[in-house]
Symmetry: C2
DNA sequence: GTGAAGAGATGACAACGTCATCCGAAATTC
DNA sequence: GAATTTCGGATGACGTTGTCATCTCTTCAC
């Protein structure tokens, strides 16, 4: 089998080729995570899907953990962009923006549960890595909450809302919500109640 | 080194000895989890701490996953007992019981973060195992909520409260709460706000 | 006592993360 | 434009881990 020429996946320069490989590793890892969960993400499998061998990832990430952190960070960035877009939408009310942002978070949990878990994980080597990655997104969120309840209570309620939503989504991910015992409530319904309560406490005095 | 006689750890009968070994494996795993996180829980280490060799655990658990599930299940059972005790306490108001139960959950997150994560994990081989283990405890919880908000809304609010509390505790575990940006709010404060809102919505009409 | 049963020890294997080393093409230098 | 450096990727190897097959030896049933 003719060894496909290196530095040659449609791009010519070495730097570009390396960047392409890095991206391929990242998306390969994300795909494997989605399809088979954390246990399916092995450096060998990631490398194979990206078209390289097991040792190649070490040219782009110091170790496996760093690769997973990068995947989770990317997810937080996407969520941050989505939240920023919502905040900038002039058509939406403050409560609407809030609902949208929380729904987006829940959506990740529903459509990509394994990724969702990584986003809230604590890698042994750098337990705060994902927390750092989440910060910009949470700041965006904080701004939305401030618009709804005012600067004074914003921090408190933002922490409450994002914590609650992540927990509710987490329970759905864990399969603890859709039980009939709980009346088949969906995560969205619960968030609606929550937003309603928070907004209710801050109705025009 | 004289090989310590088997079936002889202070007990005589084989059945009792086996049961003792099983308990030792369980507590060894829990200790290792507390001390060094999931990565520290290896069957070899668990066996060594329990005084047996790497293969012995397979006489008591089909695989490593089952051992971890057992550890998490035990934690849910303890939390369930604590919740039951709270519910039966005639000194406490409904809101007080609720606060106590949620605080107990948060306490696990704070004092045993790794165990907490296991309690909400989804083992690849049996993703719903911990959800099943959590059920009795949640039922207990549901009863407390029903006392506070009435049967009609109990399910909804119970799901809301347990989801929110678990998420808030989860954020604290992940190190996403104690940031100064969020005003240094504690998980307990957030739960207080939450309970206040729920109870507030159901004040005597 | 004799046989069956089962807990534990031991050896082995495959898969994994990781490292040291080697290879070769691209970038850089003169 | 030739020599040299740089560096992404391939390859071989090692230690650790989960797991299984096998063996040993104590306890239980009869």
């Amino acid at each position: 089998m003719s060894p496909r020429r290196r530095y040659d996946r449609g791009v010519t320069t070495r730097a570009e080729s390396a960047a392409a490989t890095r991206r391929a590793l990242l998306t390969s890892a994300a795909e494997l995570l989605d399809e088979g969960g954390l246990e399916a993400v092995t450096l060998r499998a990631v490398g194979a899907r990206a078209g390289v061998t097991r040792g190649a990832p070490y040219r782009h990430f110091p170790d496996k953990e760093s690769l997973l952190i990068a995947v989770g960070t990317q997810a937080w960035e996407r969520l941050g962009e989505r939240t920023r877009t919502l905040r900038a939408d002039p058509e939406l009310s403050a409560a609407g923006k809030l609902r949208g942002a929380l729904t987006a978070l829940i959506g990740v949990g529903r459509t990509q549960p394994h990724l969702y878990k990584v986003m809230f994980s604590n890698p042994p080597g750098d337990p705060a890595a994902l927390a750092r990655a989440a910060e910009p997104t949470q700041t965006e969120f904080l701004a939305i909450v401030a618009d709804l309840v005012g600067e004074r209570d914003a921090r408190r309620y933002a922490a409450l809302l994002i914590g609650s939503a992540s927990g509710i989504a987490g329970m759905e991910v864990s399969g603890q919500l859709p039980h009939e015992k709980w009346g088949g409530v969906s995560a969205e319904e619960l968030v609606d109640i929550l937003v309603g309560m928070v907004a209710g406490e801050h109705r025009p005095a």
